[in-house]
Every structure is written in structure tokens, then in C-alpha cells.
């Protein structure tokens, strides 16, 4: 029965990874930028939430109402002012620039917030759970994060397939030049894609702070898990991202069940196996439905 429990916890953990990965996937699929600062932006969002909690006394779980829109605007600005400019120099420049952003964010947080690790104070909710069977209990917080991930991915999928902006995003991902001569302002469209990606990264940061702890240097490890989820699931497929996150989560949980220190390693091994046997990912699709 422990195995069932490990798989269940792994699936829920996969929701967190999918939440981390969908912004990375969107930015890569549409703007063709590998955002090496993705994990650090999530950590930054968690710190921002901490500031919001201490100044306004908003409950930790409601900070997304403030943090996600702020991060969306922030993302639009970062895209238009920094990433777009480096993109027009060369695609490789964006790697250097986002790596630089990663270093800058980590050090700014270190200077302003110290190296102490933090987590959100959720009161009794943090350990609250309900029992499905005598040996299988589901925590409320991991379940909430999983549901959030599914809601975000569903919303994103609907937005991309049903709205005019979503159509413009998919068209620009296909062929930026053709999109611009069809009348699409591609820089604005990329800005919107980045805004959405940053809003999801803010949610991922809040999920991180709610379910475990974070410190200024927590970002890069999160970036690796997000990368792995994207690659396992298939680049450019949102549902693939969820599947990838779940597979990674289950691999880690089952690995930890076999050997308590082997969780992360098991995740990496599954990732490497997918990369070797099916490099296009398990689900193959563009941002089309």
C-alpha cells in the first residue's frame, strides 16, 4: 500500500512541476527563448508574496490575487525591454541575458533578504489532509496545487485555442514574419505571452512557498525540474507538460520509496531515458488543440 501512497503523492507533486514548467514551455514554444532565470523568477515571486503578507496581512493563499497580476506586468516589461532586444541580436544572446538575470536576482535576494530559508505560514492547513483509505491520505495543500495546475493548463489551452490573442500567439509561434505581414504586432504578442508565462511562474513560486521552503538560491534546481517536465511531456504541448510533470513527480516519489535519498536521482534517470528513447517527448503537439 505504500506504493500506492508514493504514486499518489508523486502525481500531486507533478502538479507543482507542471505549474513550474508551463511558463517555461510557453516562452520557449512561442518566443523561442530558453529562460534560464525561470526558477529564480518563481523564487522572486515567493519573496514578493512574503512582503505582501507582512505588509497587508493578506492570507498567504490569497496573495496570488496581487502577485500574479504584478508579475504579468513585470513579465511584459522584461520581454519588451530586455528579452526582445537580446532576441533581435541573436538567439544565443537570450541565453546569456537570462543567465545574467538569474545571477542578478539571486544576489539581489541574498543582499536584501539574507540567505535564510522561508516558507509561508499556512497555519494548521499545512498538515491538514483527508483519508481516502486507511493507508492513503491526501494533503490539502498538494491537492490545491495540483488542481491549480490543471485549472491553469486548461485555461491556457482554452485561451490559446479560442481567443483572437491566442490565435495570434500560435500564429507568431509558427512563423513570426508571416504573422507580422498579416497585421499582427508580434512584439506585443510576445509581450503578452511573456506576461502569461510570468503569471504562471508567480503561481509556481507561491505553490513552492506553500508546500516547502525557499531561499535565494532555490531557483536553478526548480528550473531543472521544469526543463525535465517539458522534455518528458514534449516541447510545445501543454497537456504534455502536465503528463511530464506527473511522470517526474511519480518517478521521484517512487525512487524515494525505494531509497530515501534516491528520489531526485530517479527523476533524472527517467528524464534521461525519455531523452534517449523518445527525444520528441511523450506527447507530440504544437500549441494547436
Amino acid at each position: 500500500m505504500n506504493w500506492v501512497n508514493a504514486i499518489a503523492q508523486g502525481i500531486l507533486l507533478g502538479g507543482l512541476y507542471a505549474l513550474f514548467a508551463c511558463g517555461l514551455s510557453l516562452l520557449f514554444g512561442v518566443v523561442r527563448v530558453v529562460n534560464l532565470a525561470h526558477g529564480d523568477f518563481a523564487v522572486l515571486a515567493a519573496y514578493l508574496a512574503l512582503v505582501v503578507i507582512t505588509t497587508t496581512h493578506v492570507p498567504a493563499l490569497l496573495t496570488f490575487v496581487i502577485v500574479a497580476p504584478l508579475f504579468a506586468m513585470f513579465g511584459y516589461g522584461v520581454q519588451r525591454l530586455i528579452i526582445q532586444r537580446s532576441l533581435e541580436v541573436s538567439p544565443l544572446t537570450t541565453l546569456l541575458v537570462t543567465f545574467g538575470l538569474s545571477v542578478v536576482i539571486q544576489n539581489l535576494l541574498l543582499v536584501t533578504a539574507s540567505a535564510d530559508s522561508h516558507s509561508f505560514d499556512l497555519g494548521s492547513l499545512i498538515s491538514a489532509s483527508f483519508r481516502l483509505t486507511p493507508e492513503l491520505s491526501i494533503g490539502y495543500v498538494p491537492l490545491m496545487i495540483f488542481v491549480t495546475a490543471v485549472v491553469v493548463l486548461t485555461g491556457l489551452q482554452l485561451f490559446l485555442s479560442r481567443t483572437a490573442m491566442g490565435r495570434a500567439i500560435r500564429a507568431s509561434a509558427d512563423d513570426q514574419e508571416a504573422s507580422s505581414i498579416a497585421g499582427v504586432n508580434t512584439r506585443h504578442v510576445f509581450g503578452i505571452a511573456a506576461a502569461i508565462a510570468f503569471a504562471t511562474v508567480a503561481l509556481a513560486g507561491l505553490a513552492l512557498g506553500s508546500s516547502s521552503s525557499f531561499d535565494p538560491s532555490a531557483g536553478p534546481a526548480r528550473l531543472i525540474f521544469a526543463f525535465e517536465a517539458v522534455i518528458i511531456g514534449g516541447v510545445g504541448s501543454l497537456w504534455g507538460t502536465l503528463v511530464g510533470g506527473i511522470i517526474l513527480g511519480v518517478a521521484q516519489a517512487v525512487g524515494a520509496q525505494i531509497d530515501p535519498s534516491g528520489g531526485v536521482l530517479a527523476g533524472h534517470l527517467v528524464f534521461l531515458a525519455v531523452l534517449a528513447l523518445r527525444p520528441q517527448g511523450l506527447i507530440r503537439a504544437r500549441f494547436a488543440v
Binding site: 500560435r170 509561434a173 509558427d174 512563423d175 508571416a178 507580422s180 498579416a182 497585421g183 499582427v184
Partner: protein
């Protein structure tokens, strides 16, 4: 309506266009002919804003649009059907057409109007464009450009890779557009086809205008000379 004045465009060290001027009025069709590498596509791409000229200006109804990005030119009433069609592979036929509406220019073209122009299209509007034949894809590319309600329509090598009957069928929609007062500027390697539909033509050779005039006024020997650069360089406008 569209007024290109002494346009010079460079690709790195290569000078693709040298002081090319042209003018297309409402209801008129101007054909740009010339061999491979003469600068025809560069000319259209510069007019839509994909290349920045190093000298010269582009005006639309007297308004200088030389510095505008492509999407702003579309909003001002220019649309390009690009070489190779460049449809969006992950979008359906109808979605491809709807992207053409991004500029929000008001006008008579809607999905229904495009479906009326190409009667087969509405039945297949939910299909991805990769399922379509080359000619059908070309029609979707034209439809997408029309959805922007342009006043100046730029057509780049419509005949490329299509069977002659298909080329004729595609070109058969042109009179309806010109009748609405659209100005059409088309680039073709198929000279016969181009001269059949155009009121005027302009021949480019190595980025310069070597001959311009009305199709009826130019002899095939003159056109051949201008096209291949035979019999010395004829000066711009020599047959006009």
C-alpha cells in the same frame, strides 16, 4: 495611391535595389517582372516593411510610411501575399484567415466574402492547411491578405509551383478586386501571365528598372532585352 520613390535596399554588401521608383493607383495592376535575383521580392518585402531601405521613401496616399513596422503598414492598408504562401501550419484554414483580421481595418472583406470568392473553402475551413493542395493553399494566403481589407495588395510569385490551369484560376479573382478599387502590385517570373493581367509593367534587372510601360506598347524583343540585360543597358523609362 502607393508611391515608391528612389528606393535603395542593401542586404549586407549586396545592393539588392538601386533607386527603384514606382507608382500604383487605385484600380490599377502593376506587374514587376524580372529574372531570379533581380530584386522583385526584395521590392515587395521592403514595401510591406520586412526590409529597411538605406535610401528612398514609400508613401501611401502621400503619407510617408517608410519607418513603420509591417503590422502598422497593414493597418494603413497594405497587404502582402508572400512568396511560398507562408500559412500557419498549426492553424486551421479559418484560423489562418482570421489572423489576417489582426489589424482591425474596417472594410468589406469578411470570412463570408472570402468564402464567396473561393467557393470550396468554407467546406474545408476546419482542416489544417497542410491538407490542402498548393493552389488551395495559395487561395488561403490570398484570403488571409484580403481579410486585412487592403487598398494596396502585393502579390509575390503566385504561380510558383502551381499547374498552369491553377495559376489561371488563382489570377481569375484579380479583376473582382481591382474593380473594388484595390491597387495591385504583383511580382511574377511567369512574364506571359503577368502581362496578361497587368495594366502596366516594370522590368527589373539587378535591382534597377530597365523597362516600364504598357504591355501592349512593348515588343517581346524589348522585354527580352530588358529582362536579360541584352543589347546594352536600356535606361529607366525608355519604353514608357
Amino acid at each position: 495611391m502607393l508611391d515608391v520613390n528612389e528606393l535603395t535596399v542593401r542586404h549586407g554588401y549586396l545592393q539588392a535595389l538601386t533607386r527603384v521608383s514606382l507608382r500604383v493607383a487605385s484600380g490599377e495592376t502593376l506587374a514587376i517582372i524580372g529574372a531570379n535575383g533581380a530584386g522583385k521580392s526584395t521590392l515587395l518585402r521592403s514595401i510591406i516593411g520586412l526590409h529597411q531601405p538605406s535610401a528612398g521613401s514609400i508613401r501611401l496616399d502621400g503619407r510617408d510610411i517608410t519607418a513603420l513596422p509591417p503590422h502598422a503598414r497593414v493597418r494603413n492598408g497594405i497587404a502582402l501575399v508572400p512568396e511560398g504562401r507562408r500559412l500557419f501550419p498549426s492553424l486551421s484554414v479559418e484560423e489562418n484567415l482570421l489572423v489576417g483580421r489582426a489589424s482591425g481595418r474596417p472594410g468589406s472583406f469578411s470570412l463570408d466574402a472570402v468564402y464567396q470568392l473561393f467557393s470550396w473553402m468554407s467546406d474545408r475551413r476546419r482542416e489544417p492547411t497542410v491538407h490542402l493542395s498548393g493552389g488551395e493553399q495559395q487561395a488561403v494566403a490570398i484570403g488571409r491578405a484580403l481579410m486585412a481589407n487592403p487598398r494596396v495588395l502585393l502579390l509575390d510569385e503566385l504561380s510558383l509551383g502551381l499547374a498552369p490551369t491553377m495559376v489561371r484560376r488563382i489570377y481569375s479573382v484579380l479583376p473582382q478586386l481591382v474593380q473594388k478599387g484595390m491597387a495591385v502590385l504583383l511580382v511574377e517570373q511567369d512574364v506571359t501571365q503577368a502581362l496578361r493581367v497587368a495594366n502596366r509593367f516594370q522590368c527589373l534587372l539587378e535591382g534597377r528598372t530597365t523597362l516600364e510601360g504598357k504591355p501592349a506598347d512593348a515588343t517581346s524583343a524589348q522585354i527580352e532585352a530588358a529582362y536579360f540585360g541584352l543589347a546594352g543597358r536600356t535606361g529607366p523609362g525608355s519604353a514608357a
